[in-house]
């Protein structure tokens, strides 16, 4: 039996799943009222009150997705906000990064301001954006944008700066004009940097959307969590967090999928095949 279950690359998924199951089991045993004599909290029901119960959390999620089907509009809104913030932030970061990397004078002039904006704790802007753009989608997109933009920007800037001078000289000798250099040398070279940043920035776009909703909105998963928190419904809060986590994983996986397609020219270690 142990021969089969010993941790190995083959049983990796099994063990990963095992950790998850063990976590929820532990959670359940420690919080279910009356199951184990309470030793940390003053009253028997306190653990469930503060930490939630996995069974109730999953039944909540079941209610949302299958029985009442009332989470879809919220999920949709959060998704739209995330994707918009991600797309606009990435595009703007890409363009600005390219521009500043290729015109050193503009970069020198704007340098202190970019540093200032980047070091500013931008979550603070959420209430201001709510005032400027209202409680709808726009204010969340704006918040996500400020988070995504700088990550992509810095990576593109670095990527363009680090283009191999030989590859650049070679392309020029082959007859590439300014625009062709941009399209065929700078952009592909920056892309490897961009993709390493996209995993971080898709997560941040999500943070922007949810925090924005949390601070003021009438729709979205962040709003659901906020509502539940107001009435101390910890199970719904936890259910919301679980849904968000799963959602973020899916987004990250989607970015990885695009990355593997576009970056197939990159060397990967161990590309041999055992025959």
């Amino acid at each position: 039996m142990w021969q089969w279950l010993r941790p190995s690359p083959r049983t990796l998924r099994f063990w990963q799943l095992g950790v998850l199951v063990a976590f929820f089991l532990f959670w359940h045993v420690m919080t279910a009222p009356g199951l184990v004599p309470h030793f940390l909290f003053a009253k028997e029901n306190d653990a469930a009150f503060f930490l939630g119960e996995p069974v109730k959390i999953f039944s909540r999620i079941w209610q949302w997705f299958v029985v009442k089907r009332d989470i879809y509009p919220h999920l949709w809104i959060t998704l739209v906000e995330t994707v918009l913030a991600f797309a606009i932030g990435t595009a703007a970061g890409l363009l600005t990064g390219m521009w500043l990397a290729l015109s050193p004078m503009a970069a020198a002039i704007l340098d202190p301001y970019i540093k200032a904006f980047n070091s500013m704790p931008r979550i603070i802007l959420a209430p201001i954006f709510a005032v400027w753009f209202g409680l709808g989608i726009a204010s969340k997109v704006a918040l996500g944008f400020t988070l995504v933009f700088f990550i992509v920007f810095f990576n593109v800037y670095q990527g363009v700066k680090e283009v191999s001078p030989t590859v650049l000289a070679n392309a020029r000798m082959l007859g590439a004009g300014q625009r062709q250099l941009l399209r065929h040398v700078y952009l592909p070279s920056a892309m490897s940097w961009v993709f390493s940043s996209l995993h971080t920035s898709v997560g941040l776009a999500f943070v922007g959307a949810v925090v924005g909703e949390y601070l003021g909105s009438a729709k979205g998963v962040g709003y659901l969590i906020h509502q539940a928190e107001m009435v101390f419904d910890i199970n719904t809060v936890m259910a919301g967090i679980l849904v968000l986590t799963a959602f973020a994983l899916v987004l990250d996986w989607a970015v990885g999928l695009v990355e593997r397609r576009l970056m197939k020219w990159q060397p990967r270690s161990g590309e041999t095949e055992k025959l």
Partner: protein, 283 residues
């Protein structure tokens, strides 16, 4: 006859970016002519400014003083009639071997179908017929060099500039590549697609930079010896009258080759030692 490449009194002085008073003169007052169809090698100790000279000829670097003429025309900007084979990796890693070879044609507005047809012909010619869809990192060093050769030659340049193109290769691969280069050069590189015919007339002028004297003699019509840096300048010029076609491995053991090698090495040796001493002092 108008030289294909005419470097006249070239001086290149680099100024340190941090400290304007720190100057380094790489080459000083270099005059070098390459006739159409002529294969000229420049040898010299390491760090003597050979690559600087080549970059000037390519139009990638503006000389501090002196002028460059290409087939009689003063050079401004990139040298459009020259192809450049770099010492280090210059292939675009995000393009396959075939796409790398078509790149120059694409930049020049050749329709994609036509570009692909020519590129495939050239890949076959350098022995990479079945490797067009590989990315550079999937090719060996020698294959990458061949791709680079095809990339340069597919544009049918009148002048080929080569900066120690085979220095990173092992000895066997290197000799193969040198023979291939000579064969392509002698055949008139454009002949494959019928655009150019005839013998010497379609030969390309080659300016070949190397620190390997054997390689220089085996390949060239003329060898120019550069002095040790700073302020390198030509200190000797030797006409290589070995008969062609040559096999770079076989020609090395002929008496005439050994004589030439001795004569050139006599001039070069002192410079190599000088360059070595300077580098030791700097370190």
């Amino acid at each position: 006859m108008t030289p294909a490449l005419d470097l006249d009194g070239i001086t290149c002085t680099f100024v340190s970016r941090e400290d304007r008073s720190q100057r380094y003169t790489a080459v000083a007052d270099v005059t070098l002519k390459v006739a159409p169809g002529e294969f000229v090698s420049v040898v010299g100790p390491t760090g003597c400014g050979k690559s600087t000279l080549l970059n000037v000829a390519a139009g990638l670097l503006d000389p501090s003083r002196g002028s460059v003429r290409v087939f009689g025309e003063p050079l401004a900007g990139i040298n459009r009639r020259a192809g450049y084979m770099f010492q280090s990796e210059a292939l675009m890693p995000w393009r396959t071997a075939l796409q790398n070879v078509t790149a120059g044609l694409e930049f020049r507005g050749v329709p994609l179908e036509e570009a692909r047809r020519q590129a495939e012909a050239w890949l076959r010619r350098v022995g990479l017929g079945g490797f067009g869809d590989r990315y550079p990192h999937q090719l060996s060093g020698g294959m990458r060099k061949r791709t680079a050769l095809a990339q340069t030659l597919v544009l049918d340049p009148d002048i080929i500039l080569m900066d120690e193109p085979f220095s990173a290769l092992d000895v066997q691969t290197r000799q193969l590549m040198e023979n291939e280069l000579l064969e392509i050069w002698a055949g008139g590189a454009g002949a494959s697609d019928g655009r150019r015919t005839g013998g010497a007339g379609s030969r390309k002028a080659v300016l070949f930079i190397t620190h390997d004297l054997d390689e220089a003699i085996a390949l060239s019509d003329r060898v120019v010896v550069l002095s040790a840096g700073p302020a390198s300048r030509p200190i000797g010029e030797f006409v290589i009258d070995l008969p062609r076609p040559r096999d770079v491995a076989e020609v090395r053991v002929t008496p005439r080759f050994i004589d030439l090698h001795k004569a050139i090495w006599y001039v070069l040796r002192e410079e190599v030692l000088k360059g070595y001493q300077q580098q030791k002092r700097a370190a």
